[in-house]
Symmetry: C2
């Protein structure tokens, strides 16, 4: 049977328990949020003894369903003060599911200065000192761990940022080549791991096995239909494999929604120099790899390997949001510099979106000039060294704004906005405002309907229909995150009826259920309900479901639009009954 | 008739208007809070164009009532995000009242980098460039202004911290000797002034006159009784004039409630070395001045002039809370170092309570060692220079805790706690938790009943009666702050029935009213109601009316007590109907 692993950092015990009834039928985000909502005091200190850090593969984890290996990480967020789930690719999700583990729950706190590592194998769990890993970045940490555990395992680690408990710290997961390039990035979950004195989790899938399926044949059939849809859809079958997520630079720039110079304009002069087409071109020229999957079972393979002019590995392909955060938003048009920064962010373990915003706000505060790529790399070095300036930056854009007296700070619930200006993609603006996670494009990616016209067509510049759109997307996304599916499956799922049906069929076939499509939506709504309740108890109100005032008052060129979705509309978004 | 001065920093206009009906009958905190509640969008950026900064003398300002010259400053707080009133001694309150000005309201925003000064004289108001004051501390600012405006005026200024918009920045007011030693200290009001591009206000009382009195004889009689009570009460007539507020060091230490080493213990070994008795002794030895009033009309004169070993002026006597914040809480027992730091805080314009807490939390985070007086002075120098570390410290204890990953951060609503441990003075703990201002001893000084047994006797270590006590005190205090009286009048007012009656009689005689004592309490309740409503609209909930969890879990020696006032009790405090 599936187990929940309770890891108590206070007394250094590890116990496996059966999944309690309240948590059955949940996985991924649904499970992490259920545990946080039920077990974590909403007003506790996020880096204190009463917070818990949860790792959970999704409901479809451990199967051969395409793109089902995401892992969710949840806790009370040090960045937002609310509930947080961030999910990641890499190998951990699939491995944990194959080991029969529904969730790892890290509890309590180390009161000395020691740090530990947790080994999780087939029915073998061990917590041991990891003082030799202290102060190491994720790359060096993984190198050391490989020496001890070999390369047939997966690692979840934190860099220095997590040890320092910075609010932008991530949890890193290794990909198939054991590079720590996949991150549960948002909301400072690495700081929670660091606060507990846990540096690394080693997940050893040896002797693990595929998850049991109630109806094997039905599952096999549905999985085949699902994979076919992923390969046939233009976005997941062609755009993403060829150009990566960075294909969006030119698309969003064209739409006038690419936030430039700390959200001052929707167009960036240097867009083409940092777009996916250019990334593909130089990668091919330099003999890097333009098509790479971040986890086993991925049929989209939107990533790539970025190499320098000598052909040496620099980083995985920086994602669109990373390129945007350090590129257009800082007016930097140097893809090599951005790739080096991506590598540095992965190494120290900080969220690229939060950090790029931190630097843009610091530039607004006069710390560096916009467009200064070398200056941005210098700031990245400050973070790596943990200087006071680096710690400010690593505490997120909100902290930078407060420290340097900057008015234009693009955060919601203190989490920095991603790469879509909410004035020119109003659907995603509604998501930024209302998601329990803070400003998060992945929580309800209305860019699909607003810009790409996938799964619907809602004018991005008008406020009509955006609340309903975001509401539906947020519920669907919560369900996808609960299933452990890569969010990109949403493109075919929203566009091709049989892709959606196949997803429901797989859940039914695996668990012996008879859910309808509506039931899946209801599951997402239930997850959002738990999250919203937690936030309310933590002190959030509708005043927290608003964008910073400059989005309401400053017109964004070229469309000269403001964010004018009404408060009433915003307050309607997560009311499902 | 009395006027409200509207100073628009966007178009640089100054207009005098009659006091609108909604604001009549209000002064001081009552008026600043009424204007903020009515005119400021609760969710606006505190340093943005939509915040307003208000200066208002109290209802008894401009009379010869003893100790009636306090000036209230109000705005949405950059530190707490809620409503804020901080009041100060110095000459400004009395001068403004004599000029017939009920309030100055600073609105809008300078969008260039220029800074301005505002001259306010008898029916003459002028805004003019002040680029020559840019980057100056309060002492140098005042020196320059004296050169231009002479020494028969009062100044309200900001130091560099205000220009940098740091959340701990104060507004400084000059005392009778034109030293910028009196501050509206808490909540970052100096940052609001700085955000608006206003460096200084010059208040010229020439041709001003005492405020009109409806019943001169009745007022004269009541004022005489009031002054007599102040002089007869042991606290205001003897303790404070001789030893200053720092007399509390030994009293609170004896009570086991003197927060030491970032709120780890209630007793400080070096208490006697920094207490009021020692301050008095060395001041007398060095031929400083141990008894000095901070404003005209003061009969208590709790301040003094601190001089160094050569007899040279260092600062005004550091207040008890200042000595505590940099002394016991940082385990520093060097009164000379503390006085130099007090001077530096006054000069750069930062709140001594917030900053001492910032430094203690930084010490907890390993930035310096506890007890390192030279290190504390180095940190003060960082603030003065505006280094990244200095800006973190100047952003308050909450910001320091976040940046350096510290769990034990003694803040409520992000405002640092003053000099009374809430576990061992539970009444003031209730005030910290529930005041709309954040952790603020002056909002409901239950130390009087808990420790000094003035105005009642409530056991400081038990939770019984603390909610009712704080509730009554908060209402009474809001009324006293509305009257413009120094809070220390509360000692005789609470203890001597005729002192309270005299206060009511003065209000009635000045305005031709027939208020009862109950009406005065109701006025205070009304002010608190406006403040609480503003905070609720700004997003505050009962979750914000709580102490940090370590006060609930960590026992405070020597009494080994935790803060155990129930949530229900806390939620009852400001419910007056």
């Amino acid at each position: 049977m599936f187990k929940i692993l309770r890891v108590n950092m206070t007394d250094l015990s590890v116990k496996a328990e059966d999944v309690p009834g309240a948590y059955q039928g949940l996985g991924g985000r649904g499970l992490t949020s259920a545990i946080v909502a039920k077990e974590v005091e909403p007003t506790c200190s996020p880096i204190g003894t009463n917070n818990k850090l949860i790792f959970a593969p999704g409901l479809l984890g451990g199967t051969n369903c395409a793109n089902s290996g995401r892992i969710s990480v949840g806790a009370k967020s040090p960045l937002t003060g609310g509930i947080k789930e961030a999910n990641s690719g890499g190998q951990a999700g699939q491995y944990l599911a194959k080991l029969g583990i529904s969730a790892i729950v890290i509890e309590g706190l180390q009161h000395d200065d020691k740090i530990y590592k947790l080994y999780v194998g087939k029915d073998k769990y061990e917590l041991s000192p990891a003082d030799d890993l202290k102060g190491l970045g994720n790359y060096a940490t993984v190198d050391k761990l490989k020496g001890e555990f070999g390369d047939k395992v997966g690692f979840a680690t934190i860099g220095q940022a997590g040890e320092w408990k910075l609010a932008a710290a991530t949890v890193a997961f290794t990909d198939r080549e054991l590079r720590p390039t996949r991150h549960a990035g948002r909301g400072g979950l690495g700081a929670v791991m660091g606060s507990k004195g846990l540096k690394a989790i080693i997940i050893d899938p040896a002797d693990g096995e595929f998850a049991p399926l109630v109806d094997k044949e039905a599952f096999k059939d549905a999985a085949k239909r699902f994979a076919k849809a992923l390969q046939e859809h233009a976005v997941t079958g062609q755009g993403l494999p060829t150009y990566g997520t960075d294909v969006l630079i030119n698309i969003i720039n064209e739409a006038g929604a690419l936030p430039t110079r700390n959200f001052r304009s929707g167009r960036f002069q240097g867009a083409d120099k940092v777009g996916g087409e250019t990334m593909n071109k130089i990668t091919v020229e330099r003999k890097g790899n333009p098509t790479h999957g971040c986890m086993s079972g991925c049929v989209i393979r939107c990533s790539g390997i970025f190499v320098d002019e000598k052909g040496e590995y620099v980083s995985k392909w920086p994602e669109y949001e990373t390129v945007w955060a350090w590129g257009p938003n800082c007016e930097i048009d140097d893809l090599d510099a951005i790739a080096r920064i991506d590598r540095a962010c992965d190494d120290i373990g900080v969220d690229t979106i939060e950090m790029g915003n931190s630097v843009a706000v610091a530039m607004e505060g006069g710390v560096k000039e916009f467009g200064d790529a070398a200056g941005a790399e210098e700031l990245m070095a400050e973070i790596s060294k943990g200087t006071p300036l680096g710690r400010i930056l690593g505490s997120g854009a909100g902290a930078v704004g407060k420290t340097f007296g900057v008015r234009r700070v693009p955060v919601v619930k203190n989490q920095a906005m991603p790469a879509y200006d909410p004035r020119a993609v109003k659907g995603v603006g509604v998501t930024y405002a209302t998601s329990p996670m803070g400003a998060d494009h992945t929580a309800g990616y209305a860019v699909a309907q607003n810009i790409m016209k996938v799964g619907g067509d809602v004018d991005p510049l008008k406020n009509e229909g955006q609340a309903t759109l975001s509401s539906n997307l947020q519920a669907a996304t919560a369900a996808i995150d609960t299933a452990g599916l890569c969010l990109f499956v949403a493109f075919p799922v929203l566009d091709i009826p049989d892709a959606f049906n196949a997803m429901v069929d797989m859940l039914n076939a695996k668990y012996g259920l008879s859910m309808t499509g509506d039931d899946v939506g209801a599951l997402g709504q239930r997850v959002l309900g738990m999250e919203k309740d937690f936030n309310r108890s933590a002190g959030f109100t509708s005043a927290d479901d608003r964008l910073p005032e400059f989005f309401l008052n400053e017109k964004l060129p070229p469309h000269d639009v403001v964010f004018d979705v009404t408060d009433e509309d915003l307050d309607s978004v997560l009311k499902f009954d």
